[in-house]
């Protein structure tokens, strides 16, 4: 059984390539294989060039691969765009109408197999045949998709699938892609990053979400809305992002664990709201799904260039925490943690993701729904000292947060500088007290900070530093280098603020060469590390063309940087 097959389906938006991909990956996961799904698409509804890539086999896989073993070309352009990536042993599935005349081409007479709307399922059956999957799990996936809404279409789908299998058995040339019989693993979830964030939010006790649609954040909200009724969540599409964040703050003030999700441009409009949350000490989770900027930039592509902006957004000074999950599991876990920390610290808390992670799917072990510890908003009213003061000075900066209307205590919150009761104050002594009270909460955030994860040995010759979605590709690059006998380690930050040097500075200092890998042009995280520790990382691997990191990309750059020989 081949260890690692990269399959790519390419075509125009609207040709249904996502459907083929989803059905196939679902079937593969159920059959016990590993997959890593990644997507690439244009900012348009029809046309353009989109791809759905599935890396599959023994895995586990944590990143896409650049070379392609099986290419499904739904149009001629796909062949042109990807021919360079084809491996020597690649198969190319294309309609006989535009037979590309490349070695490995399987020229399929789709028109003979059935009517055009069914070609997707035909391709699915063909792929199943090549991968050695039996028809049943594939058909079940089709059934699960169509079953409720279009039962009438089941029969014809079944028919074309069977036809296609027969055709494949007769026409597919010899190849080495048949998977060994997988052993089904029970209950694995096939999740992409945004789905995992949505699940994490629900598990964490989210009760309110306001949003304004923006790629690549919208799908988080779509997932939440799909489950809102089951989970008792309230949501609202706001008139703009300013309204969204202010609604979330209002809801959080009144006791609903709340979030917003947006991308850089929408977040820019929320900056004043961030400052409001900080001043009023209202917990709110702000998810920023990054895409390349500035301005509208490349709406459907990926980048990690909003770190410094998110870290400093909002006027005035106040503490915050920023999580940057690197895996599907981390998306789920850290969203819960972020919601809890927002409530605990009565502050805005951020989760930074990006289009790459948002659209990357992987099977994960099932999460235990009974193990969750959902946020409970506010303190118990009967614990409050009378007269109740929302902003009472305390040693740790945390004042008892009561919820308005849930007791006879009156809760007063103010965006102006305020006294302990929450009323406007222009007193300079009060001002000093309140500034220091708010900043004292930073200690809590530091204490709660998640240490970066060291993969490998402290003191390795080479240390690759990364954050957020860089984890998977860097991990793979590290594995390749290790296989080639190099002493190499990875330090991945899934929380990028606060940084607690005691958690990692010795690792940086103990390493031979340190290279920072991040998806932006100017090296924002490297600069932040330098600011906080004076540890300089002049060696950087940057990517800012809108595409995600891959092991190959990293290794090629590394080669330039330090003449590394090993390649994937």
């Amino acid at each position: 059984m081949p260890r690692d097959i990269q399959l790519l389906i390419g075509g125009e938006a609207g040709q249904g390539l996502v459907t083929i991909g989803q059905l196939l990956s679902k079937a593969l996961v159920r059959a016990g294989y590993e997959v890593f799904v990644s997507q690439s698409y244009h900012s348009r509804i029809r046309g353009g060039h989109n791809t759905y890539a599935i890396r599959l086999g023994e895995g586990p896989f944590f990143a896409p691969r650049e070379s392609i073993d099986i290419l499904v070309a739904l149009n001629a352009e796909t062949v042109e765009l990807h021919r360079e990536q084809l491996t020597g042993w690649a198969l190319l599935i294309a309609d006989s109408a535009f037979d590309p005349d490349l070695p490995g081409t399987i020229s399929v007479p789709f028109a003979e197999l059935g009517p055009e709307p069914l070609w997707n399922t035909a391709a699915l059956a063909l792929l199943g045949n090549i991968l050695g999957l039996s028809l049943e799990p594939l058909y079940q996936a089709v059934e699960a998709m169509l079953g409720k809404k279009h039962p009438e279409a089941l029969a014809e789908n079944r028919e074309i699938m069977e036809k296609s299998r027969v055709w494949a058995e007769a026409h597919v040339p010899e190849h080495d892609f048949a998977l060994a019989g997988g052993s089904p693993v029970a209950d694995r979830l096939l999740l992409n990053g945004n789905e995992a964030i949505a699940l994490g939010a629900l598990a964490g006790g989210l009760k309110f979400c306001a949003f304004y649609p923006m790629t690549p954040a919208t799908s988080i909200v779509l997932e939440l809305i799909a489950h809102a009724e089951t989970m008792g969540c309230v949501f609202e599409q706001a008139e703009d992002e300013i309204a969204a964040v202010n609604m979330a703050i209002g809801a959080a003030f009144a006791g609903a664990p709340s979030m917003v999700a947006t991308s850089g441009g929408g977040f820019a409009l929320m900056a004043e709201g961030v400052s409001l949350a900080a001043m009023t000490e209202t917990p709110v989770l702000i998810v920023v799904a990054q895409r390349p900027g500035p301005a509208t930039g490349m709406p459907t592509r990926t980048e990690q260039a909003d770190l410094e902006f998110v870290l400093h957004a909002g006027h005035g000074e106040f503490p915050r925490a920023i999580f940057a999950p690197g895996s599907i599991e981390a998306c789920y876990q850290l969203t819960q943690k972020a919601l809890a920390l927002a409530e605990l610290s009565q502050s805005p808390v951020f989760l930074l993701t990006d289009q790459f992670l948002a659209d990357s799917a992987r099977p994960v072990a099932p999460f235990d729904p009974t193990a969750i510890v959902p946020v409970r908003a506010g303190a118990e009213p009967d614990t409050a000292v009378t007269p109740y003061q929302r902003y009472r000075f305390t040693d740790d900066g945390l004042s008892p947060r009561l919820l308005p209307g849930l007791s006879t205590h009156l809760v007063v919150a103010d965006s102006d500088e305020h006294d302990e009761e929450g009323h406007i104050s222009e007193d300079h002594g009060v001002r000093i007290g309140m500034v220091e009270k708010r900043l004292r909460k930073f200690a809590l955030l530091q204490q709660e900070a998640i240490a970066p994860e060291l993969n490998g040995e402290k003191g390795a010759d080479l240390l690759l530093v990364c954050w957020g979605s860089g984890q998977g590709p860097v991990q793979e690059a590290v594995a390749v280098l290790r296989d080639a006998g190099r002493s190499v380690a990875m330090l991945h930050f899934s929380q990028v603020w606060p940084l607690v040097p005691a958690q990692f500075l010795d690792i940086l200092q103990a390493s031979g060469k340190v290279v920072c890998v991040e998806g932006n042009a100017t090296g924002q995280f490297a600069r932040l590390i330098q600011r906080e520790t004076c540890f300089a990382m002049p060696s950087r691997i940057a990517r800012y063309d809108g595409l995600p990191f891959t092991a190959r990309y990293i290794l090629a750059r590394l080669e330039k940087l330090i003449a590394v020989e090993a390649r994937p």
Binding site: G250, F253, G405, S407, L410, V411, A413, I424
Partner: protein
């Protein structure tokens, strides 16, 4: 029973003679008339002279950003529909910086009240034209007079089919208290645009001026007649009608959400069983 004393008495930062005093007074009386205790009420304001009002009576208060009282109020109402939520701010806040939220709020129709202290000027920032300033209103930033047409929030609200639209006047606190009480009791988003003299920065629309121009709608005025309401709403010049200009019943926004029938979200448990089902969908 709640009494006016329950709402307290505070020193204010307003100018002596300001129309805001009449509005504050009317609001307190309206709350009492609605038999609401302070802890049942949430006042949400933005920034401006008007927006300071919530600090001058006893209630739950969220004094947020300039222009943003409505989205905060909406969020709070959706988190706890049992709260009586009142968004209270100036004309600059509601119709200027917050204009987009004003439109969207009217379209939604949550059960909340909007009180706009409409002094037709940006007072706290020392007298610039606001959206409701008269055309030709001279200020230091509009030295040749405000050029843009004056915004008529009442007419726009009626046009949009808002479910309760009224105009009050700070110089008639009793009448105003009645309007505010009706607005609070109305099931839906209720707008009360309140004409408010600003003795420091609006030397045109003074108490005297309003006295000369305002009139109360007749007792037999039918606020459910949309066409008539539109005509009445557009009347704003020589004569300015006061009262409930338009009112109708519409479904409440919050009724979309079954979960809100169970009360405040803060008190609702996360269903492990629900979560299990949701997760199962990804298998």
């Amino acid at each position: 029973m709640t009494s006016i004393e329950d709402y307290g008495k505070y020193e204010t930062a307003w100018c002596p003679g300001c129309g805001n005093f009449g509005i504050l007074n009317a609001l307190k009386h309206a709350l009492v008339a609605c038999e609401l205790a302070p802890h049942q009420v949430l006042l949400v304001s933005g920034i401006g002279q008007a927006a300071k009002a919530p600090h001058y009576l006893k209630a739950n208060v969220f004094n947020g950003l300039h222009g943003r009282s409505l989205p905060v109020a909406i969020g709070a109402k959706l988190a706890n529909p049992e709260l009586t939520v009142i968004a209270e701010s100036g004309d600059g806040c509601m119709y200027g910086e917050g204009g987009n939220h004003f439109l969207a709020a009217l379209r939604r129709n949550l059960n909340l009240t909007i009180l706009a202290h409409d002094n037709r000027v940006y007072a706290l920032t020392k007298g610039q034209a606001s959206p409701t300033s008269e055309q030709g209103f001279v200020t230091k930033t509009q030295p040749h007079g405000a050029f843009a047409a004056s915004f008529n929030p009442v007419a726009v609200a009626v046009t949009m089919g808002a479910s309760f639209v009224a105009r009050g006047y700070a110089g008639m606190p009793e009448h105003l208290a009645g309007l505010i009480a009706q607005a609070i009791k109305h099931r839906g988003t209720a707008l009360v645009d309140i004409l408010q003299p600003c003795v420091s920065f609006n030397k045109v629309n003074t108490f005297q001026w309003y006295k000369e121009h305002c009139y109360e709608l007749a007792d037999d005025y039918d606020p459910t007649d949309h066409a008539q309401a539109l005509g009445t709403a557009l009347e704003f010049g020589e004569r300015i009608p006061l009262g409930v200009i338009y009112a109708m019943e519409k479904p409440l926004f919050e009724e979309q959400f079954a979960v809100l029938k169970n009360g405040p979200l803060a008190r609702q448990e996360v269903s492990r069983e629900g979560l299990r089902q949701v997760m199962q969908g990804y298998v």
